[in-house]
Symmetry: C2
Subunit: 345 residues, 2 copies
């Protein structure tokens, strides 16, 4: 196994000082073209590449972003991860992944581990951390941005869709579609996405003079969602909802399967189903799910932007709470109103 090539060896071979080598590999440094040539040549011959860790030690910037993630089974997250990683790679950063097994205390432990790696920033996807921890991060000068979770508190930024507006629009859409018995299957109450979507949905119904006809809880979990759907629809026809908003697409698929194959209902003839996220399977024709699109690319762009703004000026940049509009994607799983969007007047 070949010894590691250091800048010193390159320096010797190029007949310059070690710091000259460093300068050649430091973007804005002051070096003559002649030195650059000599060093680049020697480096190429030796197969030299700067040691990122050593650089990180002395410069204090690791160019590593820690990502805390809990559920990769909701296909919104792999999509976001791919975009995030690509986007950061373009800016010279890389993503160090930390899986947070749902446990609450666990998350804090995970974040501490992240800090040990001297990351330049942290992105948490769908997980909350204690306010203690976020203070620790702030004190360490490590910016944190919550992705897909709104957290009002402690100097952390957050990027979400406008979940309230999304829930509201879905309510309008279902009411405009002539539905009379509109139900909701909730996610996990600990998540701001769940709370905002439900609040928006209820508000939208109220505005139209409607109220929730039935309510179930799916906890963002497929099995819970299926059970909730079964309980909600295993009743005599008159008591059965004619439309249901499921808090995310991931659960909506399970609900649709249960309605069709478990209970023999037709979608949308017997019941309309709408979801939230617009993950790839929502467009698969077997589901063809009407849903609110979370624009992962925009959300990630805002996340990266917020992160880099803080990394640039540790103290300067204010934390921000971004809510990105989610467009309604109309497909075939819900009855479509005669006129949509609603006409003025």
């Amino acid at each position: 196994m070949v010894e590691k090539v250091t800048s010193l060896q390159v320096a010797e071979r190029a007949g310059v000082s070690q710091s000259a080598v460093s300068r050649v590999f430091t973007p804005g440094a002051s070096v003559s073209q002649k030195t650059v040539d000599k060093v680049r040549k020697a480096a190429a011959e030796l197969g030299y590449r700067p040691n990122v860790l050593a650089r990180a030690m002395v410069s204090g910037k690791s160019r590593i972003i820690g990502l805390v993630v809990a559920y990769l089974d909701n296909y919104f997250y792999p999509e976001a991860l791919e975009i995030l990683s690509n986007e950061l790679q373009e800016k010279g950063y890389h993503v160090l992944v930390f899986m947070a097994s749902q446990t609450a205390g666990n998350i804090d432990a995970v974040v501490e581990e992240i800090l040990d790696y001297q990351v330049d920033g942290i992105v948490t996807a769908s997980v909350a951390m204690s306010s203690d921890l976020s203070r620790t991060c702030r004190q360490a000068g490590v910016p944190v941005v919550h992705f897909n979770r709104f957290e009002d508190s402690h100097g952390v930024s957050s990027v979400t869709s406008d979940n309230f507006a999304g829930g509201r629009e879905l309510a309008q859409f279902l009411v405009a579609g002539g539905h009379q018995k509109i139900a909701y299957i909730a996610g996990w109450e600990g998540a701001s996405t769940q709370r905002d979507r439900e609040a928006g949905f209820r508000a939208g119904l109220a505005e139209q003079g409607h109220a929730l006809f039935a309510h179930g809880v799916g906890e963002f979990d497929v099995d819970h969602a299926r059970a909730a759907a079964n309980a909600m629809f295993s009743v005599k026809p008159d008591d059965r909802p004619d439309a249901v908003f499921v808090a995310n697409d991931h659960m909506a698929f399970a609900v649709m399967d249960e309605l069709r194959f478990g209970l023999g209902l037709r979608i949308p003839e017997d019941v309309s189903v709408v979801g939230f996220d617009d993950v790839p399977p929502s467009a698969w024709r077997a589901y063809d799910l009407t849903t609110m699109r979370q624009r992962a690319n925009l959300m990630v762009a805002e996340t990266v932007d917020a992160l880099l703004a803080h990394i640039g000026n540790p103290r300067e940049a204010a934390t921000r709470q971004v809510a990105i509009p989610a467009p309604l994607i109309i497909r075939g799983s819900a009855r479509v109103p005669d006129t949509w969007p609603p006409q003025e007047g």
Copy 2:
């Protein structure tokens, strides 16, 4: 922003030497209980945690594993990533993610970047690297294991399912099911998974006195797969296959949708469909896909095992090529033989 707490500060507060502090945080080191107590107390009061990067510099072990990934849209990979990350976390390692945009030359560039981070090992998921590069890795003493890709060459390990045996069993299953016109929709030829599955499938058919009735190419891409299915089945009924093996589930969903909704065929009455991977949506009732299960947990376990074996003894451990048996998961998308598995004699 609070200054970073170093081991030296802890040492001063605890009234011991800096190396004593280091020892307290080094698992197998020789320290008295008294010292441990003093140091732990001081560390807690100061909020000290060892700097992983500094440790990496001097010890030469970063406890970072580089992961190169290309397609997160095939849901086999998020699943594998989650398991991999969890498993490594348990052993004190973490995953640094590198997205490889399909480009060939790109992969090599990505791997060089990885090396810059002084990773202790590299896992490539569904991507191949040049033999030059793998030599570089070997010389750098960084073990590489290909996940879900078999690469005979240059001292890298690989972990896959037994794709040949899997393809073969699928052929037996379809023939036993009484199918007469059996087709195949291929993945990307550059992938060993594609080649082995097809070879096994053809071998299995041949053993039963059958030959491939039709062949299309999906390139592991949803749009290609859909087009291939359309071309293959848009013919007069007699020329239409009565069964098709699609090289992975990801494509199989698109094929099923095209057959059902594009061409009005019934599955499995008009045509049986089988896939490979057993990703979560395969179990969704709308697809209910008969498929070979890639046991992600076992594959990951072998991957981690191979990796750590090499990290333990840089030169000692031989590279290994592991092929894990894939069980057939029988669901409803293909006609089931009267007797299965085939009886002796």
